[in-house]
């Protein structure tokens, strides 16, 4: 059913030039495989996130190139994405690991969505079925877990998990503790709070499969493909706790570029590129890690204020930033950072907090 490879990480060789749709004269492509935790599924270290792919030819070619992990969701394009992916994979379906997700919040709704997903994807089962976009354990109810387990019993989902974009340091340990989840699909990249990495490492050690997404997020989100993005992808594909990644791809060129990251070691130049990018953003942009909470001598909600000033400086949304700022408690609105001889807030990522807080007060107060 799946590519036959050795245990653990391994490499396969494919001649990219023979497969390219555009007559490239690329060098032989190294496919690297990892095992998705205790599921035992062999996956290429670079998978494919299909969410924004509009032309099915890109999905088909990714499968032809040997990529073995494809991710979609019931909610993507209101279901149209699943239909496209199912049609694009066609007869290759059983040669790949296919995952989808549900946003339904009760057992009956989840069961109905899964049946729809299977129909649209033209398959009898999905390899991984995720609860879509959870941040807190409180969002995962017992009947949702029952629906996941039932899907496994019925053979409609081989493995189950949760996708998460935030608060991973709380959610992932909880998933491990619950013992019913096989895989976590987590936003994870070079710019994140070390607490997220610790949670992912701990989960991987217990055998939970780790799939990374938003690997080009954080400091590199929304950038066009380039060296920073390639380095970011290599950073995560080389991470020992991560089995595969699902960068979004809309065209053949992105596909070629991302696939080239497989089997590439993270070089000193990659480290330099990523460090430079972090340096560029760290002085101003809050990563919402929450570690500054409660540390301001005047009791100011530091992360919130940093976010408001970002609305103005980062997006030109002065009105929105000011609106949010003025919604704070009156004592916070009228506070002045210049009254403190020394700022008590130390950002672990190097954001110049006092400078940014003053900026917010100048702009909005």
């Amino acid at each position: 059913m799946l590519p036959v490879v050795g245990a653990g990480s391994s490499l396969g060789i494919l001649n990219l030039s023979a497969q390219t749709p555009a007559g490239n004269t690329g060098s032989p492509l190294k496919l690297s495989y990892k095992t998705l935790g205790k599921t035992g599924l062999k996956v290429t270290s670079v998978g494919m996130g299909c969410m924004i792919t509009s032309d099915p030819s890109v999905v088909t070619r990714a499968a032809d190139l040997g990529i073995t992990y494809f991710d979609t969701a019931r909610g993507y394009q209101h279901g149209n994405n699943e239909r496209m992916v199912g049609a694009a994979l066609g007869s290759k379906r059983k040669q790949v690991v296919l995952s989808t997700k549900t946003e339904a919040r009760d057992k009956a709704g989840m069961a109905k969505e899964l049946d729809t997903s299977l129909s649209e994807l033209k398959t009898d089962f999905v390899d991984v079925w995720y609860l879509h976009g959870k941040s807190n354990p409180s969002e995962v109810h017992d009947d949702m877990i029952e629906a996941l387990q039932l899907a496994k019993q019925q053979g409609k989902a081989r493995f189950v998990g949760i996708s998460t974009h935030s608060n991973q340091q709380t959610l992932i340990p909880w998933m491990v503790q619950k013992g019913v989840f096989d895989v976590v699909l987590s936003a994870f990249n070079f710019s994140m709070d070390p607490a997220v990495e610790q949670a992912i490492d701990a989960a991987a050690k217990t055998g939970m499969g780790v799939v990374a997404m938003k690997v080009m997020a954080g400091g590199a989100r929304n950038q066009k493909p380039g060296q920073t993005l390639l380095s970011a992808l290599k950073w995560v594909t080389n991470h020992p706790s991560v089995a595969t990644t699902i960068p979004s791809m809309t065209d053949m060129a992105q596909l070629d570029e991302n696939v080239q990251a497989m089997g590439s070691t993270l070089t000193a130049e990659d480290h330099r590129v990523l460090a430079t990018h972090l340096k560029m953003i760290e002085a101003e942009y809050c990563r919402m890690c929450g570690k500054c909470e409660g540390s301001c001598a005047q009791g100011l909600p530091v992360a919130d204020v940093l976010r408001y000033v970002t609305y103005a400086d980062g997006y030109g949304e002065f009105a929105l930033g000011r609106e949010r700022f003025l919604q704070m408690a009156s004592e916070h609105v009228s506070a002045h950072c210049e009254n403190c001889p020394e700022c008590t807030v130390q950002c672990p990522f190097g954001v110049q907090v006092q400078k940014r807080m003053k900026r917010a007060q100048e702009l909005f107060a």
Partner: protein
């Protein structure tokens, strides 16, 4: 955990959406009341709301969103109004999310109403409405139709789909849409319009100038071994292409167009002639 990006295009969220109060109101639906404050979202924090789905908005030139929640008894109604960079993008987002099995209704540039959901695009706005009913089998289509019509009447903006969509030949046409990036999966075709047919697909991409369009043509032709000239528009080639089967791509002025996924290149060229004739 979010790191903001300066490269994003500044948008007109507050200016454009300041008028949202005219059409974003639970009172437009009799019997419904607002249950919480309107939530504004930007490209930065859309992930907080559309967790896992934000990219689908961002790629279409998302500028901002306002989300309103209403309630009526045990039923809840969520109205999301997204402002996009332009009307074509708003229509594109509508088209990519619409149910292809349900006909497009004349609501703004186009809309769809189903038993417990509705969507439409008008001007730069893309509207999504989801009704969560205590009875999951209840049909609220009439109620939602009335609501979206009231909302659309209060919105400013274009009420016709992108002009280029009308250039596609209509015989055996299945659907049309706006592709925000990489038409046909080719990065050189940056943004354009696509028509799906019973067999094959057609596309239109507008370049800035005839010269830039010609430059793209040159790059594309070099991709395909065995490409040969075709007599379409100002210049054209046809080829048998991996994954795209029989293709023909032509240039007419600054517009690129063509057909793909037909059995043979000559068949693609024959269809391309018809498309080229409809492009002004």
């Amino acid at each position: 955990m979010r790191v903001v990006h300066l490269a994003l295009v500044p948008f007109l969220l507050m200016g454009g959406m300041a008028r949202a109060q005219d059409f974003l109101s639970c009172q437009l639906a009799p019997g419904w009341t607002q249950s919480e404050a309107v939530h504004p979202y930007t490209a930065d924090n859309l992930y907080d709301y559309k967790d896992g789905g934000a990219e689908g908005y961002l790629i279409y030139g998302f500028a901002g969103m306002k989300s309103l929640n209403c309630k009526s008894g045990e039923n809840t109604l969520t109205i999301d109004v997204s402002e996009m960079n332009d009307a074509d993008s708003a229509y594109g987002l509508f088209a990519t999310n619409r149910d292809p099995r349900v006909p497009i209704a004349k609501i703004g540039m186009g809309g769809q109403v189903q038993a417990q959901s509705a969507s439409y695009a008008k001007g730069k706005y893309y509207v999504e409405i989801v009704l969560n009913a205590a009875d999951p089998n209840s049909d609220h289509a009439a109620e939602l139709t009335a609501l979206v019509n009231k909302m659309a009447q209060r919105m400013e903006g274009r009420v016709t789909p992108p002009e280029a969509l009308a250039w596609f030949p209509t015989e055996d046409l299945s659907s049309t849409g706006v592709v925000p990036q990489s038409v046909l999966g080719l990065k050189e075709l940056k943004r354009g319009y696509v028509a799906k047919y019973k067999q094959g697909q057609a596309f239109i991409v507008a370049e800035e100038t005839p010269a830039s369009a010609a430059a793209v043509m040159k790059v594309l032709r070099q991709k395909y071994d065995g490409a040969s000239d075709a007599k379409v528009g100002d210049e054209a080639f046809q080829a048998k292409a991996p994954y795209l089967d029989g293709i023909c791509i032509f240039r007419k002025g600054r517009t690129l167009g063509g057909y793909a996924n037909l059995p043979t290149a000559p068949e693609a060229a024959a269809q391309a002639v018809k498309l080229a004739a409809r492009i002004p």
